[in-house]
Symmetry: C2
Amino acid sequence: MALIIQKFGGTSVGSVERINAVADKVIRTRKQGHDVVVVVSAMSGETDRLLALANDIAHRPDRRELDVLLATGEQVTIALLAIALREKGQDAVSFTGGQVRILTDSAHTKARIMDIDAARVRKALSKGRVVVVAGFQGIDADGNITTLGRGGSDTTAVAMAAALKADECDVYTDVDGVYTADPRIVPEANRLKRISYEEMLEMASLGSKVLQIRSVEFAGKYHVPLRVLSSFQDGPGTLITDEDKEMEQALISGIAHAKDEAKLTIMGVPDRPGIAYTILGPIADANIEVDMIVQNVGADNSTDLTFTVHRNDYDRAMEILQKTCREIGARGVTGDKRIVKISIVGVGMRSHAGIASRMFKALADEGINIQMISTSEIKVSVVVDEKYLELGVRALHSAFGLEKGANGAG
Amino acid sequence: MALIIQKFGGTSVGSVERINAVADKVIRTRKQGHDVVVVVSAMSGETDRLLALANDIAHRPDRRELDVLLATGEQVTIALLAIALREKGQDAVSFTGGQVRILTDSAHTKARIMDIDAARVRKALSKGRVVVVAGFQGIDADGNITTLGRGGSDTTAVAMAAALKADECDVYTDVDGVYTADPRIVPEANRLKRISYEEMLEMASLGSKVLQIRSVEFAGKYHVPLRVLSSFQDGPGTLITDEDKEMEQALISGIAHAKDEAKLTIMGVPDRPGIAYTILGPIADANIEVDMIVQNVGADNSTDLTFTVHRNDYDRAMEILQKTCREIGARGVTGDKRIVKISIVGVGMRSHAGIASRMFKALADEGINIQMISTSEIKVSVVVDEKYLELGVRALHSAFGLEKGANGAG
């Protein structure tokens, strides 16, 4: 008998019918002899409905009160799911974040979990009950209601799993697992059986929007086995776990891509200490997130600096950069909104040389020009013209043999 | 400087516009130098929407979970009102029933308030904040969310007033006070300036649906001055308070009526101890509430017993009574759905003789036949044919001089 945490998002509980389907799924797990804690989000659309009410009243609604408002979304779902479970003969009890005592800091609308008191949940489990917990919410030390920000329910599920030392945390989504590449681009893409936390973090930050990054970080930190499954069809999904020997045999786990990028270059920058901050500081001050940054030292004591931002931020970033260019006497500014980022991710890179050059060769063979390169210990990212997106992803998927079911894919 | 509790019901907070209007009203009171605690209900329609979801899932939804579900209704309102107050520059903070610590028993969906911890609210008031409290809800000793049943927000407001020793509890409704009779029947009816708790209780139980009976009982027990006002127009409303000398001068305060009654009579009942229980026990077992009960001792060692029920319960009650009739060998059963109850209410009856006969004469002068009579210390009720409703109420209103502004009316 194991203790399983099951997390269902807004679409999975978006109607009475869907809530009944979730109840059936929970009961099936229970009947296999496992204890179950269910973490749920607000019914899809509910959070937006509540936000619209608040925004009708105030230009910038008070954050503490926003949390009081938004927390009702998950509270509705836990009650309805517990009602459904009991109606189907399964004893169940719901708890809000405050009732569990999910203690957070006081950063309203983006709080972080500090501690979870597992006693109340354990007691209910020991009575044979399914425990239904509201995701996304907690309370601070003063008893104020807090929320964890969008996607926070994943984090709640992982944190509950860590606090209860659960055997597994199953996150039900609208995809049936993590793939070696986006199946819409690579029809031969394989679902991964397993992937490490680190790889999943890179995949997520590179555009694979299966799980919230914070929840994967949390799972890695507390060694919570995390499984991504479909709420709409049965299947084993993908297990995200600590690195193990099986993984080490694989070179790379998958190909990730990010479409909505844009790059900006400032040329002929006087090469002196602090210049990167002078250029990127005003961008950060404008709340624009910078992704890749590449700087080459030039021959004439000046340098070119290129960075990428989300495509929506391109125009604002360009305006700021032109101002900076005039102020520091750089030669000029250029940019390109028609780029994409393609990345290979895999812990195998640590122990195998030549992975990057194999990537570059595969792209060169297809005549794809690489505009920027950025590497980390377990990934290599390149920026290319957006017209090469599909060709590039497919070429790399094939070059690393991912379609053959290598690397634990199946 | 006084401490005022203001309570607004579902219609008063039924839209963003109405919530803004409530915020303006609260700020006006605050600007007069008073501390304000606001108690609010769910936005009109919200409780029914939530109940419909639960009823879609289960035939008889679990009561504990129903409370978790329904409590979200008021939680939405407190957040929105606090957001509106802050947007208008008035510092404010919202508390759920659990956050205040409104401790109730564990009778889910109809819990009773046991205790209120006033410390958190007092602390917020001392910082100059308006405190917005969710009506209708509390927590039990185990931290489970409870609700007080329909109309429970009135009770929350009065209980908060008692716990905080507030100077007044103002309940905003869709009428502008308590009248000497229903103004739709008696256009000359006057708004009462003051009325005693006891009279208000009789008025409420006799069909004047201005306040929940429990909240009036609570106010009387803790001597909380309670004021009924309109949320839609300004005015002093009606103050419900302890009896005082001014009231003693008045004979009666008002004429109440109840339209939806029906009467049933069982005739020729063998007159022996326990017979009333034999007849009314099965009615109570069927959850049918009995209002008036009249029994006459007959000459032939048998008796007739008549009682009234809500008109909706008439058919079921008749079925039960016919069965009882056969079992105990009574002579027969008869009934009438076309009756109404008219009552006069006033603490003046205590010290003045002849009030009842003055009532009976006024009705007789109009040719109205009295079918049943029931009295208490401060009220006399009669049952008459429903066709006499308007005529009877107007005759009594005039006979006791209520249209002249006597008895504190004005």
